[in-house]
Structure formats: C-alpha cells, structure tokens
Amino acid sequence: MMDANEREVYRAAIHGDREAFEMIIRTYSRPLFAITYGILQNREEAEDAVQDTLVKAWKSRWRVRDPEKFPAWLCMIARHCARDVFRKRRPISVAEIPEANAPETSDSSGLDRQLHSALASLPELHRAALSLRYFEEMDYATIENRLGLSNGSLRGILGRALASMRKQLKPALASKQS
C-alpha cells in the first residue's frame, strides 16, 4: 500500500523528526489546501487553515499510532480547522458577500458567482472531494484514502456533485456554449 520509504518518513515525523515533518509539509500542503479551499472557498482563509493544520499536527503528532494512517489523519485535522474558520466567519459573510458581489454584472463574473453559490450549496465532504480532484488531479483511490471514505463511494459522491452543479448552472452553461 505505502512504500517503506514513505512510511519511514511518517514514523520519523511522528517521533519528532523535524526534517521529516518539513518534508511532509512540502508534499502535503497542496492537498491540504485543496481540502480547506473546498470547504472555505476563499484562498486567504484556506491558507490560514492549512497553517493551523500543520502546527496542530506537529503539536499532537504523538496521537497517531500507525504511520499508515498519518495522511488521512492530516486531512482530518485540515477539515476540522477549515470548519473552525468557517464557523468563525459565518455571521460576517452572510451579510456581506451578496452585496459585495451584486454590482458585478459582467458575464464571466456572473458565471463565476453562480458557480460559487452552486459550490456553496454542496455538502462539505463533496466540496472537499471536488477540490482534491480538480486541484491535485488525484485518482479516486487516493482521495478516498485521504478523506477516510470507503472503497468506491467517491464515484457516487463526485457524480452527484457534478450533476447537482450542472443542473444549477444549466442556463449559464448553455449561454457559454452557444
């Protein structure tokens, strides 16, 4: 499943090897960003969430017993952090975002806005899965592993997510195609 080298890196990181952990940061900050961005839909916030995630992971690394589960655990922390950020900003965003976006009337930004709201209407897990797929072009098996999903369930999730978005964006898409 996981090659011995990779596993050794995780083990070292769990045991407090800082270099190993930095290596993990290099390889994993993008997928983690994909997850937090999927949930938050905002780059700055997503970056903050990733930073929180990394620090938190470093501090509580001893909680992981099995190095194999390290990536999934990291993703879990990322989701938690993103959710925390999401909760904190909510009261502001609900009031401000529509007004801020209202004046923009250009075609592309209209589509963008619709896309944004369509994404927002999806369940959190679906958004995380989507962004992992589109940012990182990960294969389904890896995504399932990272998000702690069972084998083969991702296909249904992504199918449903795409279908629901396409239905919401149908008019905009049609205009774009034509």
């Binding site: 769990i14 045991h15 407090g16 090897d17 800082r18 930095e22 940061i25 290099r26 900050s29 993008r30 960003f33 961005y37 780059r43 970056e47 990733v50 930073q51 990394l54 620090v55 470093w58 501090k59 690394r61 001893w62 589509l111 963008d112 896309l115 989507l130 962004s131 797929r133 589109y134 940012f135 294969d139 389904y140 296909r155 249904g156 992504l158 199918g159 449903r160 997510a161 795409l162 279908a163 978005m165 396409r166 964006l169 149908k170 898409l173 774009k176 195609q177």
Partner: protein, 682 residues
Amino acid sequence: MTIHDHIDEFLAADLHSELSDEERNALHTHLVECADCRQAHQETKAMNKVLNEKFENEKPNLAFENRMLAHFRNRAPERARVFSQFPFNLLYSRATQLAGVAALLLALVQVGRIITGEHFLGNRYDSSPVSLEQSVRPMSMNERREEADLAKRDEVRAKDIRNRALKATGDSTVATPPPPVAATGGSARAEVAPEFHEEKAAPGRNIPAEGVAQNPVDTFRRDEVSSTAAEAPATGNPALANQKLIRNATVDLEIVSFDQAIQKITAFAAEEKGYVATTNSEKQENGKLKGQIVVKVLPENLDRFLQKIRGLGELKNQTLGTEDITKSYFDTEARLKNARVMEQRLIEMLKKKSEDINDLLQVEKELGRVREQIEQMQGELKFWDSQVQFATVTISLAEKDLEEAAKYLLKERAQLAIYTPEVEKIYNDLKSLASPKVQITNAQLDRDNSGRVSARVSMLIAPEESDGMIAKAKAMGRVENFQTQTERVAQGGEGMSENANTKRDKVELNITISRDEQEQAFQQTTLRIRTSTVDERAKKLRELAEKQSGRVRSSSFSRDPEGREFASVAVRVPMKNYNALMQSFDSLGKVEDVSVQRLDRTGQVDEANAPADLQIQVYSQGNIVSSDTGLIATLRRTIAQSAAAIMWSLRMIGVAIAFLAPWIAAIVVIVWIVRRIRSRRS
C-alpha cells in the same frame, strides 16, 4: 445496475478517466442510444471544463509550499533536540503510558488518604513513647544531644549517691533523703528518678510508717532512727534459740461425758506444766452438754499433750499452727530502743532550752507522743512474750448424740370441700360451732358479679374434739375431696429418739363451701343426634332431661348458610339417672359420636348423687347443594379471579416499568451524547 440510472457517476468517472475499458464501452454504447444521457454528457463536459478553469485560477502559486514551511517554522520554533524529542519518544512507549496511568492512580490514592487523614507511614514511630514524643515535639539535633547528655550525667550521679548510701549504712536499713537532683524535671531525667526511688524504698521497708517524711520534726526523728537502726541486725541476727514462735492448736472432740473430760484435761495440763485458762459449757434442750476449754502448756510439751487428749474421745478436727514473729518482735524491740533514746534527748532539750515557749511546747508535745509509743511497744512485746512462753490449746467438747430430738409434735391438717345449694346457711352453721376448743381462725364469704357464691372457713380444733367436729362438717352437704395430713415434728433436735414423748397438736381444718353448679362433673358425655326436625326434637330433649331430675345448664340454636340447623343443649343429671336418660335419647333420632369422659377422684363419697354432664347436639342434614357450589357460583368465582389476575399483571407491568425506566433513560442519554460527539467529529 443500469448505466442510465447511474449516468451521473459514469459521466463524472469518464471525465476523470476512472472508468475501466469495459465500463467506458458500455457507457458510449448507451450514449449513442439515449438522447437524454447525451445531453447530460454534453452538460457535464461543460461543467467539468468550467470547474477546471475555475480551480486552475485558484491554484496556489509556486511559492505556496515555502510559505507554508516558513510559517510553520515561525509558529512552531525548533527547540533543543534532546528536550523536544525525548518526551515524545517516551510518550510512544506503552510502558511509559502504563506507568503514567499507575502514577496518576497512586497520586489519587495519596490525595484521598491525605484528605481522609489516614497515616500511611506505618507504625515505625509508635513503638517507643520517647521517639513519639520527639516526633510530636520537634527538637533540634543539638538540643536532643544535650538532653541525652544530661540524662546520662544524672544517671551516673544517682548511682553514685546510691552506692554511697549503701556503703554508709550496710545493706539492711537505709533512709537517706532523696538527692535533690532527682526532683528536678526534664522528661529524660524523670526516667531515672523513679528507679532510684524504688531502690531506696526496698531496704527501707523494715522501718514502718515513720520512714515517710512529712514535716521537719519527722525528718529529724527519722535520722535518729536510721542511725540507730543499723545496730539492730547485729543483735537480732538469728541464733536459733532466740527465735520467737507462737504455737497454738485447736481440737474438736466428741466425748461421752463432759464433766469427766474436763477433769481429765485439767489433770493432763498439770502433768505437762500447763494450766487451764478458761472453760465454758452450755446445756442443750435434750440435756446434753457442749463447751470449750482453753489450756496453756509449755510449747515443748504441746505435742505430748495433744497425744494424751486424743484418748479422751472421738477426734473430729484438729489444727496445729505456728507463727514466727521473730522479725517483728526484734523490729519492735529496736524501735523501742530508738524511742527511749529519743525520749532521753527530748528530756535534755527540755532542760536546756527554756526560753522560747513555743519550742518548749513543741518538745513537750513530741515527748508525750514518744512516751505513748514506748508504752504501746512495751505492751506489744509483753503480749508476745506471754504468747511465746505458753502454747494455747483450744479444745471444743461435745457430748455424744447432741442433736437428738427432745420431743415430738403431731400436727394434723385436714381439708374439706362441700357442695351445697345453700352456701350461706352452711357457712353460718359452721361459724356457730365455734367454742373454746374449736376456734375459727379465718372465715370468708365471696359473692361475685355473676351471683356465684363461695365460702372458706379455717379453724383450729383441740385434738380430742377433732374427729367429732370433722364428722359434723361432713354431714352438712355433699363432701368432695376430703384430705388429712399428719406431720411429726421433732423439737429441740432432729432425727429419731427412743425415749422422747409425742404430743398431739391442735388440728387445723380448712373447709371450702361452693354451690353445687360449680362442682366439676363426675362424668362428661358428648353426643350428636341427627334428625330432620331439630327445633321440635330439642324441646323434647329438654322434657326428657327434666323427667330424670336433670337441669338444663345452657342451650343454643343456629342455622348455617347451607340450611343446616344445630341445637346444642347442656344437661346435668345425677349419676343414678344417667343411664335412664341415655336410653331415652334413642326415641329422638340417630345417636352418633358418643364420647364419655370419667373423672375418678379420690375421696369421692357419694357417687350416686355426683353430677354427670351431657353435651348434646341435635342437627339436621340441610340442603344437598349449597349456594357456594354450582355452575353460577363457579362462573362468578372464575370471573372474579381472572379480573384479579388482570389487575395483578397490570400492577406488575407498572412495577417493571418503574424499575426499567431510569435505565432506559440513562441509555438513551448516553446514546444521544455519543451520537452527537460522533456527528461533530465527522
């Protein structure tokens, strides 16, 4: 699973190239066939494109990783390796975790112990009181050493003083005043002091009460005593001849003649160079003598004397005792000497110092006391001398058959119960019989609420009148239970005697008079008569009884729910008519369950007139089917019981719910909490 139903999944997977070849082929064939799905395919493709563009725009730039790293380094700075890594490594070992848990538990236990005030250091310090004291009262190291040193020094000093004291007075009698050191305090020093006191007290024992210092005069006197007392053992120490022994003996003898015995004892005493000190004698009621005689003989002749006495009669008891008074004798002697010296000194003092009247008085008083003591001691010594010079023999004499009875008294007691219809008349008749020879000691007539009358007369009758009197009383009514009792009482002794005379005493007669209804029946019979007409037969039964001069004592009638009738009749007839009555019952119906109980009493005088009780029950068969049986009754009962059963089970269900409800509530709450936690995590 058809592709059409899951077209969304297939389309997405196709675009993400996650379909197997087989699946892709199937999808494309379906797309050719299905217009809707083709449409969806087009839209999904567009959607995919839009999404790709969108996310391409939002992708973090190249410096993203470095930014993250920098930030991480900033927020979680590297600490010295050893310190940061070591605890984490420790945290990974199971042993550390277990140890941690154990330590936590231990800590909790200790906290609990401290809170509850239990001591967990064990009893190490409880064994010796001294160290306990030390632990209670904290003391610096220096202080403690000082204390110990002091104690040691005191001990040495005490020993020194003791040795010196012993040397000075020999080891017989010592009364040095206690060294002042011992009196001063300090916990360690106090330990030495009592020991010393004890040592001192032991040799001082020979000097009685005076040895204890109480006032200045006393102390001064005691010094005198101790200085002279040292000489005592020199003179007193034992040559055997000088032993002071008091010998005495007691002898119990049974002899034939008291006077003879006294004569002989006096003769024996003279032979052994002794004398008769006292005699006393006492004459018993039966003419026998007993007494005591005290003889003094020389101690060396005592054994021979006793031997002789034994020949006088039967020896019942003998004790021989020797008391050694040597020690107290010589002690007293020594004290006497001291007291004399003391007396002399006081007299000298009296002569010299005649200025201060107070001193004079004091000395005079003391002189009086000492003289009194001297006299007392002299008396004591004299008494002992006399005791030692002669042995005392106390002889108790008793003539044979001392206990024989002097005379006898015949006591007679008689008891009589009379049943009569007229209690009061008999009672008065009995009372009128009184005369100087017939004395009534107690007469009593009782009538209770229910009209029952009984009387009791006790009398004392002169012996010669007694037989006639008893006969008269017997003639007054139906006599029941006549008892006499004669007792021969020995007077002035006990046991048999051939020549003592016997005297008849007054006769005590107790008479109880009661109405004849109260008399217990001589014979009791119960029987049942079955008949169809109870009421009529019961009436006839009464008639029959009256014909046989019987009396109906009680009767009752009852009917039970099943229609049976009962009549109970209790009849009393004289014994002579009993058989006739029993035979007449046959005409009434079927006689069943006859049981007869006869009371054979001793002293029964008049059997023919004695009462016989009959308890007759007349009854009918009643209905064959009672209202408690039958179909309707069964039905009723069944319904009632099933209703009761339903009520019972309802109640039980209620109980069960009451028992389970809290558990169910608790489980529900726990499940709810667990679910909530889970949903929050995911």
